[in-house]
Symmetry: C2
Subunit: 157 residues, 2 copies
DNA sequence: AGCCAATTGATGACATGTCAACCAGATGGC
DNA sequence: GCCATCTGGTTGACATGTCATCAATTGGCT
């Protein structure tokens, strides 16, 4: 922390823009999702990830890793979703400790009902506002940052 | 929601990359901030916005608007920060209902101690990983989305 | 086989965020 | 000047997220 290298104007604008977009986009997507489908974004993410697996079911840890959630958070959230009948917990055949999370028919119905509207909202408020170049840039840049951040964990630092 | 126009591969990658970056970057910045300065990101944001005003003080609503927070959230958070001695609430001279939030010397010390490290982290994990073109693209694109989202509120829809 | 460290997932205590209800002070019409 | 209404901010109840801890298993090692 010798001499701070502050952000220049351009960098500052990009950083602030990012944070502002982040917040507003989140609010709007969450609002529409709740209004149109009765789901929160976390609900949607869980259902979405589950529905993408071949068997509609995943080990809790596997799901948590994909979502970048702590097991604790996921466990808590699942008990809530379970009470609403969206998912179930099953025993794991190969590991006595394990919990296998499965989509219920109701959960499947919920995600199928929610998805088109949600995708449309993502388009309306983000994707369709960008040029192809910008989408490509976003793809490249975000993945570079992600790679860096996941690399950091392994590195000794 | 007639026929959903799904995201194509490129769009999908950009969208997922964005969400992943969002999450990882947040975790890492929050982690370093807590470790190095004993502040949460919300703490930092409040202190930062306050410290940027000429007088180190702002009306609660004004602050809430800048931060895109609800008044309620800000009020709750301020009582916590107040208990830690980082900010104070003062009466407003021109409006008997009003609350003016001011940085304490301690709050000022906290933000000044935290800022260099935080900026460095933002550089290390984001800004310095991007090309100038990408930073410019990020600036342009985020502001376009922000403008769209803030315009939406006014529009009848 | 038997032991022990590591892993899985659940749980309780607590921090944080949201929502609706509320109160006091401001405002505007009459 | 008075009342209805609006606005700024606070509050309490509740939803959600984090953290530390715990019990049950597992798996490596001898």
């Amino acid at each position: 922390m010798e001499q701070p290298r502050w952000l220049d104007d351009q960098e500052q604008r990009a950083w602030r823009g990012y944070r502002r977009m982040r917040r507003l986009l989140d609010l709007e997507l969450a609002r529409e999702l709740a209004r149109d489908a009765g789901l929160s974004e976390p609900d949607y993410d869980v259902l979405s990830d589950l529905s993408e697996t071949p068997d509609q079911r995943l080990r809790l840890s596997e799901l948590a890793d994909r979502m970048l959630w702590s097991r604790s958070r996921l466990s808590h959230h699942l008990t809530r979703m379970q009470q609403r009948g969206l998912v179930t917990r099953e025993e794991c055949a190969t590991d006595g400790r394990g919990a296998v999370i499965a989509l219920t028919p109701e959960g499947r119905r919920a995600i199928e009902a929610a998805a088109p509207g949600h995708v449309a909202a993502v388009r309306r408020h983000l994707i369709d506002l960008l040029t192809p170049d910008e989408i490509a840039a976003l793809d490249a840049l975000t993945h570079r940052v992600v790679d860096h951040l996941t690399g950091v964990d392994r590195a000794p630092r």
